[in-house]
């Protein structure tokens, strides 16, 4: 993989919010180059502004200062988004199929084409979920998988995931890590994942970007150079332990 192609250039992003006590700075001069096709994880303390950062990346929120550019693409690339809370971001009045196709519906794409795209997507990843079932009847893992598929249905070049595994149990997470890495390998898209689990951040990412406390900036970027394809057992390896030790050191410095 050519790592040198910059897909997203984050240049001195700052953001502050007004609240009762005045203005609160959430992000301060966040700068980072995100490479095409890489799996980047953001790691940082809770409430440090990780979500604000990805919201700005996804274009839901405006940056107060600084800019985000996409040197490789003309204009803004297609972005898929997976939310933290699948229960509150899926639409319970729609079944699995219609939830996944929801972004297509909003774009005014015909029903037959929606079905066509869904079929392609499903067959690509051997998804074993009944398309007609109600989303509230799914297990947490299945529901988040639906959420991921909904993010992928638009054929995104970038997939942004905001703590997608934080509401699920450990067992389910391990299963979804595998699925996610499989998807990423196959689609070769850029994935940006926020995490507050250091194991997860190291295991999934090519690089882990550490955010400092509020106002957040990039404190350090750690190369997680475990060989690919990774297996769950790798989390028990010597290299993994080394990386985690490094990460903890960085994190200890962030926290103080």
């Amino acid at each position: 993989m050519d790592r040198k192609v910059v897909h997203i250039k984050v240049d001195k992003i700052s953001k502050s919010f007004k609240n009762d006590e005045g203005r609160i700075e959430v992000l301060k001069h966040v700068s980072l180059e995100i490479y095409k096709g890489e799996f980047l994880t953001f790691f940082g303390p809770n409430g440090c502004g990780k979500s604000t950062l990805v919201n700005i990346l996804a274009g839901i929120e405006e940056a107060g200062d600084g800019e985000i550019t996409f040197p490789e693409t003309n204009g803004k690339p297609k972005i898929g988004f997976v939310f933290q809370n699948y229960r509150d971001s899926l639409m319970p009045w729609l079944n699995v199929e219609k939830n996944i196709c929801f972004p297509l519906k909003l774009k005014g794409i015909t029903k037959s084409e929606q079905k066509e795209r869904l079929k392609t997507l499903i067959s690509e990843f051997e998804i074993n979920i009944d398309l007609k079932s109600k989303v509230y009847n799914l297990s947490g893992g299945q529901a988040q998988m639906v959420s991921i598929l909904r993010g992928l249905i638009v054929n995104p070049e970038i997939l942004i995931m905001d703590e997608p595994f934080s509401a699920l149990d450990y067992q389910t997470n391990l299963m979804l890590y595998e699925e996610l890495l499989k998807i990423w390998r196959k689609l070769k898209i850029t994935v940006i994942l926020i995490s507050h689990e250091i194991d997860e951040a190291i295991y999934l990412g090519d690089r882990v970007a550490f955010l400092s406390k509020k106002p957040a900036s990039i404190f350090k970027v750690l190369n997680s150079d475990l060989p690919r394809p990774r297996k769950l057992e790798d989390m028990g390896s010597q290299e993994f332990a080394e990386l985690k030790k490094k990460a903890l050191e960085i994190f200890r410095n962030t926290a103080t």
């Binding site: 996804a58 839901i60 988004f81 509150d88 971001s89 929801f102 972004p103 774009k107 109600k134």
Partner: protein, 248 residues
């Protein structure tokens, strides 16, 4: 077996009623026996004399109620959508909602005369404010995360409204519709008794009273109870079909 438990209460009440009248515990002028009451109810149907009353009461009820819904739901949704509109109208809506519509019946008489329109207008008024409040409340309860999701996928404001907000508010709207369904029946009956009419279940109750026909009085009350009960049950069933995701 548990499914049949609901009949125990009514059966117990009937037995109690029967004992009270059979053994002379109750003044038979104030409380006729269940046999007399139900045979009178049966008589009202077999002679067909009650059909016109039912028809006209239903007519006034449904027109007033449906108008209340048709006007109230869009207003409520619009109100809930904008916090400014909500805040500025909240007092007025709460004020008129708290005002007993029956207290205003002379006003309705002055404005709409003694025909059907005044009764329909009263029913409408009793319905519309509660519908507005419930629909508006439903909209304010919309999950921010779903709106955010839709925005992320590039939804326009109108699409957010039709694809998210409408569905999110639907369960609350339906609760408002169910509450007002019973309430508007009460108002129709009272308006028929107060304002007077040729046919109508309220009028029939009042006539039975003036004729000292107590068993007919009770018969019509029982009939109204049955109508109220089944309309409510039917609506609840529809609610679970329409807003099937509620509470899931």
């Amino acid at each position: 077996m548990k499914k049949l438990l609901f009949v125990i209460g009514p059966i117990a009440l009937l037995i109690l009623w029967w004992i009270l009248t059979k053994f002379g515990f109750a003044n038979s002028f104030l409380l006729p026996s269940p046999e007399d009451t139900f045979s009178r109810l049966f008589g009202l149907f077999s002679s067909g004399e009650v059909f016109n009353d039912i028809r006209l009461t239903f007519y006034r009820w449904s027109i007033g109620y449906l108008l209340g819904c048709v006007v109230g739901i869009p207003l409520g949704i619009l109100m809930g959508y904008s916090e400014k509109v909500y805040k500025s109208c909240e007092f007025l809506i709460e004020f008129f909602r708290s005002l007993p519509v029956t207290a205003m019946f002379p006003l309705f008489l002055l404005m709409f005369g003694i025909g059907d329109s005044s009764k329909i207008a009263m029913t409408f008024t009793a319905t519309v404010f509660i519908i507005i409040i419930n629909s508006a409340y439903g909209v304010t309860q919309t999950k921010k995360s779903r709106i955010k999701a839709a925005k992320t996928f590039g939804a326009t404001n109108f699409q957010i409204f039709t694809n998210v907000v409408f569905y999110e508010s639907l369960p609350h709207t339906l609760i408002g519709m169910r509450t007002t369904l019973s309430l508007s029946l009460i108002v129709v009956i009272v308006s028929e008794m107060f304002i007077g009419t040729q046919f109508g279940l309220g009028q029939r109750i009042y006539d039975a009273y003036t004729r000292n026909s107590v068993d007919e009085l009770y018969a019509v009350i029982v009939l109204l109870g049955i109508i109220g009960y089944f309309s409510n049950k039917l609506f609840m069933y529809m609610e679970t079909k329409i807003a099937f995701w509620t509470g899931k």
